[in-house]
Amino acid sequence: MTLEFTLASARDALRSRRISSRELTQAHLASIAALDPKLHAFITVTPDLALAQADAADAALGRGEAGPLTGLPVAIKDVFCTKGVKTTAASKILEPFVPPYESTVTSNMLRDGAVFLGKLNLDEFAMGSATTNSAFGATINPWQRQDSDVALVPGGSSGGSAAAVASGMALAATGTDTGGSIRQPASYCGIVGIKPTYGRCSRYGIVAFASSLDQAGPFGRTVEDTAILLGSMAGHDPKDSTSVPRAVPDFVAAAKRGVKGLKIGVPREYRAEGMPAEIEALWAQGLDWLRQQGAEIVDVSLPHTKYGLATYYIVAPAEASSNLARYDGVRYGLRVPANDLKDLYEETRAAGFGKEVRRRILMGTYVLSAGYYDAYYLKAQKVRALILKDFTEVFTKVDALLTPTAPSAAFAIGENADDPVKMYLNDIFTVPASMAGVPGMSVPAGLDAHGLPLGLQVLGRHFDEETVFAVGAALEKAAGFTGLPQIRMGEGA
């Protein structure tokens, strides 16, 4: 039953009392019970809490007091601190951590009546592109190749969120995107995901990876669903100095605007060498769809694109090395007892952090070190400014950009595992927008030769998510993407 609904249609069904939030929530909990042993999208499921919230929602609906999300069962990436509910960031070092506070984004959703099913798996501290770096085991993509049942990755770092939404374990989910962690898993799992403009959603209460890049955003099975959820998540928050004091627009209305008269840029630098022909073809198809709906396609250049990935892998680890210093075994989380302070740090952090996190802390520490700072961190900041300038200039000529989301469809668990750089290449199309802070959405647009979903990425101006939603909705409409993953709840389940 759960996949029959979208967030929007479930909302309508709740408001017209065709279904109760308790029924809807129970159906999702049943999906989780049936599917999650295979997919492992959840770190923590909170059925009692969810049902209590559902009952409260039903009571509110009975009184005719429906908020934008009232009674809708959704799930939360396990980097959002949730009051009284374990928040791990998929790390052993936070395994025993129960926050005494609620993140602003999840507070906003609770304010709007959402029902939380539980906390979703991710790459440890959101560092990864496959959700294979979780201390609590990998998440499996609900999609499989037509010709093989080898387990595929859901992408990352918000792999649990994408897998849960794609398979019908949640109507929608939150994610965070630092270099592509919403858009790439959305593409791999055949759903919609948007990283809004940096500053649109508050980072308060989100376990930090790279503060200047981290941004929360929604996953949904439709563009409209992400528009509904983002409308609730977003908004200025005085508790986050980098959150921007701007009103939250009506994203749902924006998604209905259409693309007539819009100028859509095609950045030539995204024609990466060795790009699979089917992705190239899908991209061309996407441009055609937009042209047919009245958009003008313009070739543009983002000359510093090629430095994006290298720059990102300096800036993000640098910030991470500092952000993760607080996990020291002194005040909360894991502590490995030791005889002195130095041993306490070393043993706690060695036991608490996984390999990829340790690698990034080392890289970040290195690029900030005396003697290397200028050559790495400072230079990366300069290049970052150039990347931002590329986008600013191009957006004086076009209203949005269209690119592929990722250079491939979902790959098998274990592939790329031996080579971190190969893994990092998954982010090649998503990272530049993160560096510039502009909004980006992945929309499922087609299937590859193995029957796996492929997404197209729409990038927009700072704080112009509205155009991104309009373009995303136009692609969605033209693509008519109806594919369903192999691992999902069947009819009537």
Binding site: S103, S211, S212, S241, T242, S322, V330, S369
Partner: protein, 482 residues
């Protein structure tokens, strides 16, 4: 005469610079809403931000920024309208985030000047390099348990101003005068309580020595010295240590040292090789700190009168010597006391009485001006009785002593003890006659030319009148009778 250390190889000059950490007076901490007041049960004034919890973010406290700007203005310094916060990364148990938020590359306050006055009366200008805002760390306690250390985070995140001087000081006296002057200015501004015992003001002292005319030699930094006296002592012993090293043919290593007042020595804390690599970088959780010139102007317009200006005004308005004015303005409370006292009275008499018998009385009682048993108005009552000749100066000292003991007014004491000055010439004449009659030998000596004996007669008459005779009238009567 400049301060030098005489070594075997000749005279050595000292070069001193101070980095003063001044705790900002504010209700809340620099980046969290937690209380910034001193004291409190351990860990009672800690927010999740201060404790470095996951996902917690700093938000700048505008009042702390205002305090830094006021201080910058008080130090005649450039105010930087755009400044920035950086992270200074290092691990320590009482540093919850694993970094201190500080201003490394772009401080809020730039170059300024502090004028100091030495005992000789010479005024020297000491350059201020910069002032920046930063967070304090918590406190580690290693003596509470045999095997474990305890951490108190009440202080973690409290706003500090680090005020860095140029290496402009050349003697312990100058360093002491600078520190005292800085403390006076901060207290006037109300931006730091300057309480070194409670640690709300601490100094890192940079010391090097050199021969006259040389470039700077290697310096050592003496960390966390917590009194003016210790700063002066530490400079002296450190300078002597360095002179000995240079004169033995070795060289001074740049390092961080600690001053041990009990043994009167400095000890190495860590050398340059073990120095932390703080990996400073701009804090991505905070936007650049941008302030408006109009706001700075507004703060400037509301600054209180500062010690240098007050001193100049006291000299010109009340006609008191520079020395008196300098002592009076050292504490805002003394200056205020003086102004109340001097208003409508003889300014010189007021400063004499205040700096003399009144301060001596406070000292005797172990009290400060804030806890004085008598107010400025009460002390003024005494001065008024002197001015209108109700009592003489000698009796006044006695009255003041009684006032300090009891807190009563001068008039009440004079009345109760019957200390009113005798101006009745008949009574004075009678006393003079009696004294002359009782001392015929002294009278004869006086008349034969021993004029010094005049004082003896005055003393005897005053004694006979229990000190209450009007001195001028007594003098006059004796002169007449003799």
């Amino acid at each position: 005469m400049s301060y030098i250390i005489e070594g075997r190889t000749g005279p050595w000059e000292l070069v001193i610079g101070l980095e003063v950490h001044a705790q900002v007076v504010s209700n809340a901490k620099l980046f969290s809403g937690a209380s910034a007041t001193y004291g409190g049960e351990p860990n009672a004034q800690v927010s999740f931000i201060d404790a470095g919890f996951p996902g917690m973010l700093p938000v700048i406290n505008g009042e702390c920024v205002a305090q830094a700007v006021r201080t910058g203005l008080g130090l005649n310094a450039e105010i930087n309208l755009v400044s920035r916060f950086d992270r200074k990364n290092y691990f320590y148990a009482d540093l919850p985030q694993g970094y201190q938020i500080s201003q490394f590359a772009h401080p809020i306050v730039g170059k300024g000047i502090v004028d100091i006055e030495l005992e000789s009366g010479e005024v020297r200008h000491i350059g201020v390099t910069r002032l920046h805002l930063e967070q304090d760390a918590g406190k580690s306690m290693h003596d509470q348990h045999p095997a474990e250390s305890f951490i108190d985070l009440n202080r973690a995140g409290v706003a500090l101003m680090e005020i860095v001087s140029e290496p402009d000081m050349r003697s312990p006296e100058e360093a002491g005068a600078y520190l005292r002057k800085l403390r006076t200015i901060l207290r006037y501004l109300g931006t730091c309580d300057g309480n070194m015992e409670e640690g709300s003001m601490r100094a890192d002292v940079n010391v090097s020595v050199r021969k006259a005319g040389e470039e700077f030699r290697t310096r050592c930094e003496i960390k966390n010295v917590n009194s003016v006296r210790f700063v002066m002592q530490a400079i002296e012993v450190e300078a002597r240590r360095q002179v000995e090293i240079w004169e033995s043919g070795a060289s001074v290593d740049q390092e961080t040292r600690l001053y041990d007042p009990a043994r009167s020595e400095t000890r190495s804390m860590r050398s340059k090789e073990d120095a932390h690599d703080y990996r400073y970088f701009p804090d991505p959780d905070l936007l650049p700190l941008v302030i408006e010139q109009a706001w700075v102007d507004q703060l400037a317009a509301m600054l209180p009168e500062l010690p240098d200006a007050k001193k100049a005004r006291f000299i010109s308005d009340y006609g008191i010597p520079a020395y008196d004015a300098r002592v009076l303005v050292m504490e805002q409370a003394s200056a205020d006391f003086y102004e109340t006292l001097a208003k409508g009275r003889d300014g010189k008499a007021a400063s004499n009485w205040m700096l003399g018998d009144f301060f001596a009385g406070l000292n005797r009682l172990g009290k400060g001006i804030e806890t004085s048993p008598i107010s400025a108005a009460t002390l003024g009552g005494l001065l008024d009785l002197i001015a209108d000749a109700t009592i003489n100066g000698k009796i006044a000292k006695e009255v003041l002593e009684a006032m300090m003991e009891t807190g009563e007014s001068a008039a009440a004491i004079v009345e109760a003890k019957g200390l009113k000055q005798v101006t009745d010439t008949g009574a004075i004449d009678a006393a003079v006659d009696a004294v002359l009659a009782a001392n015929p030998d002294k009278l004869a000596e006086y008349k034969s030319g021993k004029e010094k004996l005049f004082g003896f007669f005055v003393g005897q008459v005053m004694k006979a009148m229990a000190g209450k005779g009007n001195p001028a009238l007594v003098n006059e009567a004796i002169k007449r009778k003799l």
